[in-house]
Amino acid sequence: MATEVVLPMLGITVEKGKILKWIKSEGERVEKGESIFEVEADKVTTEVESPASGILKKILVPENLEVPVLTVVGVITAEGEEIQEKYVAGKPEIVEPFKGAAPEVLVSAASAEVSETMASEPSGSVRAVPAARKVAREYGIDLSLISGSGPGGTILKKDVENYMALERAEITAPKGKERRATPLARRLAEKEGIPLENVSGTGHHGRVTKMDVLKASEKGKTALPGEAPAETLFGKTIPMSRMRRVIARRISQSAFTAPHIYFFTDVEMGRLIQLRDEIVSEYEDQFGVRISINDFIIKAVGLTIREYPMLNASLDGENIRINPEINVGLAVALEEGLIVPAIPRADRYGLGDIARMRVDLVERSRNGKLTIEEIERGTFTISSLAQFGITYFTAILNPPQSGILTVGKLDEKLSLINGEVRTKQVTRFGLSVDHRIVDGAVAAAFLQAFKGKLESPSSAFIQLT
């Protein structure tokens, strides 16, 4: 019977290991308890003993590849025994350890008693004790109408109750019944077409005053439908959306763990723009998409990375992992935040394909229809603020990537060429790199090579389209 050899549990803190050396080779005889391979985990090298006697029929995980513990790394069979089909494919299988344990459930059990009322609405600058807030919430009373009698004007429960006693008629009044207002306010509200029940009153006993109506009418003018008027955001605390939280965490992680260095270069864009204008209609016929300058930039980045693999790397513990594919991500700004879908193998695809993929990815970004893989596969990022008229800017790396390219607006610059004043079309590009992985000279050389491609576009792109 075949025995699976796994990368063993190597103590409770170890999650991954790398086989440094197979002591036994495929087809060799091995005895139970004999050392079969050497594994490195947590900087310690351990010889692993064979779990069975027989022939090491198949090695599934080669040397120097890091895999999680419990991965099946080889198969031992009896002499002459064939191995099952699933091992022939050679795909490492990872065993789930200790199924059935569900720690996250425990977390929820421990916090299950949290009262749902704890998430009380933000209340501006009104100070009120919890019991007062509760009554106000239940009766729909605006606490800002009540003056508090507690320390520092804190609204006490009895303040709310007193207020209610005075205002009972209005509070319990069915909807549609007129709200108390001064005559002036009432006339103004009619003129402006503002329903009085929507106006909170600040006058005596909550009476709506002229000022209240004026304020309400201003709000109405600036507010967009379905959106909180901008002025109401001031002084408020807004819970982060899930996406915002993820962005915040990743960006701080990147900013505080990866030492950034920044480089800038001006690229003369004239010839590239000319080339693009020449081929755009031809490409549109062929690919059904309008090729843009951005597509050239993506392609040029892909090609340049091929020459400078460190710009396609990420840090993994003590190792630098150079990613096998060059997938160039594009930062797309959405209302909730930034998302970075990536164009796969940008060095290999032609401009037409790149353009098509870009249009599709950007569109699906806006519809929220991207797949996780499309978001996570990026190995390098391009961020452009050209459409905002930004001259140049620095960017924080998209972790765990080692480089991000920034694109500024297209500028006309005067320059003296052969004694003549001419205008040049110039864009300033910036490059941020993780200095742990990429040295300054490498980053500079990358940027120089990139610049060269954009400035001599026909030689750079022609054979590759």
Partner: protein, 326 residues
């Protein structure tokens, strides 16, 4: 009505239980011939002999662990650790053995064992003989923690502790040993996890333990002259804790003060405050105030020590602060 001291009440409970239940033995430093440093076990050696009232070497880990082993094999030991400060020498035995044995063994081993010790400053004994870290044991699951405040409660709670098949930390207060109170001669039990409302009131709830129960009662009495009705609630066991009684009282009064002799930070009052903030938030009409010891070691010099010990002034101050929200 008969009045006896807190120490005598515990002594009486031990004596009565030892007469009824031969599984009970006592172990501790100087508990036999000397009668215990606070005379809680006085006379028990004479009645029950050295086999049941065992003077131990100064070996807290040794004799507390011995009690764990004896409890697992059929006895119901009662250990006296002279001061709560010395439980630190036996912390492995208390936290990892005594408290965990039943759970770790999936219920196969039980530890019916009462560990008596005491808290409290006020005897000029300085930082290693005066601490009040009883709330530490409230944090350890697997332990029950009794905190008697009166002679009556001391006897009733000890009777319950010795009827319980679980480890019990029985935490006395050294300044209370000589206080007198009404204690029935007959046997009675006070259930664990059942708070006692020592005084009823509608305006403010004070959750108090040990010596601060009486101090709170004094302040409440004084305040009642001004028409302020304070409710005093003594949980009597801080684990299990009668959360329901505390929450009900706060729901009635909307205001909470905790009064406990431990240091304020990370202490009993903090736990009560958190519970109330979490489960009775909407009823709160004022901030919660914790009365307790300052976050310093217990100082020696008498004026400093007096300043250290939370007293009626501190409670009064807290009440006045809360009254701003009245």
């Amino acid at each position: 009505m008969r009045e006896i001291t807190y120490a005598q009440a515990i002594n009486e409970a031990l004596r009565e239980n030892m007469r009824r239940n031969s599984r009970i033995i006592l172990m501790g430093e100087d508990i036999g011939r000397y009668g215990g440093i606070f005379q809680v076990t006085a006379g028990l050696l004479d009645e029950f002999g050295p086999e049941r009232v065992i003077d131990t070497p100064i070996s807290e880990a040794g004799f507390v662990g011995t009690c764990v082993g004896a409890a697992m094999t059929g006895l119901h030991p009662v250990a006296e650790v002279m001061f709560i400060d010395f439980t630190t020498c036996a912390m492995d035995m208390i936290v990892n053995q005594m408290a965990k044995m039943h759970y770790m063994s999936g219920g196969r081993g039980k530890v019916p064992f009462v560990l008596r010790t005491n808290i409290g400053a006020g005897r000029g004994a300085a930082a290693q003989h005066s601490q009040s870290f009883h709330s530490f044991f409230m944090h350890i699951s697997g332990l029950k923690v009794a905190t008697p405040a009166t002679p009556y409660d001391a006897k009733g709670l000890m009777n319950t502790a010795l009827a319980d098949e679980n480890p019990v930390m029985f935490i006395e207060h050294k300044k209370l040993f000589i206080t007198k109170g009404h204690v029935p001669e007959e046997s009675y039990s006070i259930p664990f996890g059942k708070a006692d409302i020592k005084r009823e009131g509608n305006d403010i709830t004070i959750v108090a333990t040990h010596a601060l129960v009486q101090k709170s009662l004094n302040v409440a009495e004084e305040m009642s002259q001004e028409g302020i009705n304070i409710e005093i609630l003594d949980p009597r066991t801080i684990s299990p804790l009668d959360k329901e009684a505390i929450l009900n009282s706060v729901k009635k009064t909307g205001k909470l003060i905790t009064a406990d002799e431990g240091c304020v930070t990370g202490g009993f009052g903090s736990e009560i405050a958190a519970t109330v903030a979490q489960e009775a938030f909407d009823y709160l009409e004022a901030p919660i105030i914790r009365v307790g010891s300052p976050d310093t070691p217990v100082p020696f010099s008498p004026p400093l020590e007096q300043f250290y010990i939370p007293g009626e002034d501190n409670i009064r101050e807290a009440v006045n602060k809360i009254l701003e929200y009245q």
